[in-house]
Amino acid sequence: MSSLAARAGSPGGAPHVLVVDDSAVLRMYYRQILETAGYRVSEAINGLEGLEQALRTSFDLCIVDVNMPMMDGYAMLRELRRDTSTRSIPVLMTSTEAAPHDRSRAIEAGANTYLVKPVPPDRLTGYVAALVGKVQA
C-alpha cells in the first residue's frame, strides 16, 4: 500500500527511505538513484543504527543489507517486526548471496522482497516504487 496519498501536498512529503549498509560507496550510490527519483534518503551503517533511526523517524521503506557488523540485517528485521511503531515498515533486503534459500530465509524473516547485489538502478527504483509508490514529478 502506498503512503503517497497520505503525503500528497504536505511539505517535504516525498517518501522517506532508510538505506542500511556498511558500504559507504553503496549508500552513496543508492542515495543518488533514489534522490534523483524524488525520494528522501537517510542512511545507517549497521542494523543497530538502522533500528535507532527507524525508532526516531517514520520511514516509508528500509533497504537493509544482510552482512553488517554490530547487528546484521536479519537481526534488525526481527527488531523492526517486534516494535509496534516499526512493525509495518516495508523492508527490501539486499545481499550478495544469490542462493534460493537466502531469498526464502529473508522472506520468512519478514522482508517484503530480496534483491541480490549489485542492484541495477532501474530494478532498485522499480521495487521501491512498488513498495512505497512513485514520487509525482
Binding site: S23, V25, L26, P69, V119, P121
Partner: protein
C-alpha cells in the same frame, strides 16, 4: 526526603579470587548467559584454551557471549587467532562471518598470511570478506593487495569490496588499476559509480604519490 543518605556499596568478597580454569571451561557451556559470558571474559587471552573458545562460537546464540568469545580470541592474537577467524569467514552464520572480519581487523598485520590465503580462495564470498580486512591495514600492506584484486579478480562483488576500501584508503597509485576495472565492468552501473568515487578520493591534487 526520600533520597537515601549516602548509599553503601556491596563489595563482592570473591571479586579477586581467581576461578580454576576447569570451572571456567565448564561454565562456557552453562545454561545461563551471564555465566557463559563471564567465563569467556575470564579465559580471554589464554592461548591454551583458545581452541575451546573457538569451538563455542558456532553454537552460541547470545550476541554478548559471542562478543566475549571473539574478544578473548583477539587477546590471544597472532597467527593462531588469525587462523581461527579465517576459518569462520566461511561460516553459514552471518554473525560469525562478520564477527570474524572485525576480529581480523584487530589483529592487523598478524593476519597477513591468513588474508593472503583467503584473497586467493575459490569462494568469492571469502575473498570479499578478506578484502574488507585490508581496510584496517597500513597503506604499504593494503594497497598492493587491493591493486591485485582490482586488476585480477573476476567476481564483481569482490571487486566492489576492493573499490569500497580504496575509496577510504586508496592513493593515486590505484587510479590506473581502477580505470582498468571500470573498463572491465563497463556494463555494471554500480561498479562504474564506485570506481569514479574511489578515483576522485584517491587522486592527489598535489601530484601522484
Amino acid at each position: 526526603m526520600p533520597l537515601l543518605q549516602a548509599a553503601t556499596l556491596a563489595v563482592q568478597d570473591n571479586a579477586d579470587i581467581p576461578t580454576p580454569r576447569e570451572l571456567l571451561l565448564e561454565a562456557l557451556h552453562h545454561r545461563g548467559v551471564d555465566q557463559r559470558r563471564r567465563a569467556a571474559r575470564a579465559l580471554a587471552g589464554d592461548p591454551e584454551t583458545a581452541f575451546v573458545l573457538a569451538a563455542c562460537l558456532p553454537g552460541e546464540p547470545d550476541a554478548g557471549v559471542r562478543d566475549a568469545l571473539f574478544a578473548g580470541l583477539i587477546q590471544v592474537g597472532g597467527l593462531p587467532a588469525a587462523e581461527i577467524f579465517g576459518r569462520l569467514l566461511g561460516s553459514e552464520d552471518v554473525n560469525l562471518r562478520v564477527g570474524a572480519v572485525e576480529a581480523l581487523k584487530h589483529l592487523e598485520e598478524d593476519a597477513i598470511p591468513v588474508i593472503d590465503r583467503l584473497l586467493g580462495d575459490p569462494d568469492p564470498d571469502s575473498r570479499m570478506l578478506a578484502v574488507e580486512v585490508l581496510r584496517a591495514w597500513s597503506r604499504s600492506e593494503a594497497i598492493p593487495r587491493l591493486r591485485r584484486v582490482i586488476e585480477t579478480d573476476q567476481h564483481v562483488n569482490v571487486c566492489a569490496a576492493a573499490v569500497d576500501v580504496a575509496a577510504e584508503i586508496g592513493t593515486a597509485a590505484l587510479v590506473g588499476s581502477l580505470g582498468g576495472l571500470r573498463r572491465r565492468f563497463a556494463e555494471d552501473p554500480f561498479l562504474i559509480f564506485a570506481v569514479d568515487v574511489a578515483c576522485e578520493q584517491s587522486a592527489s591534487p598535489r601530484g601522484a604519490r
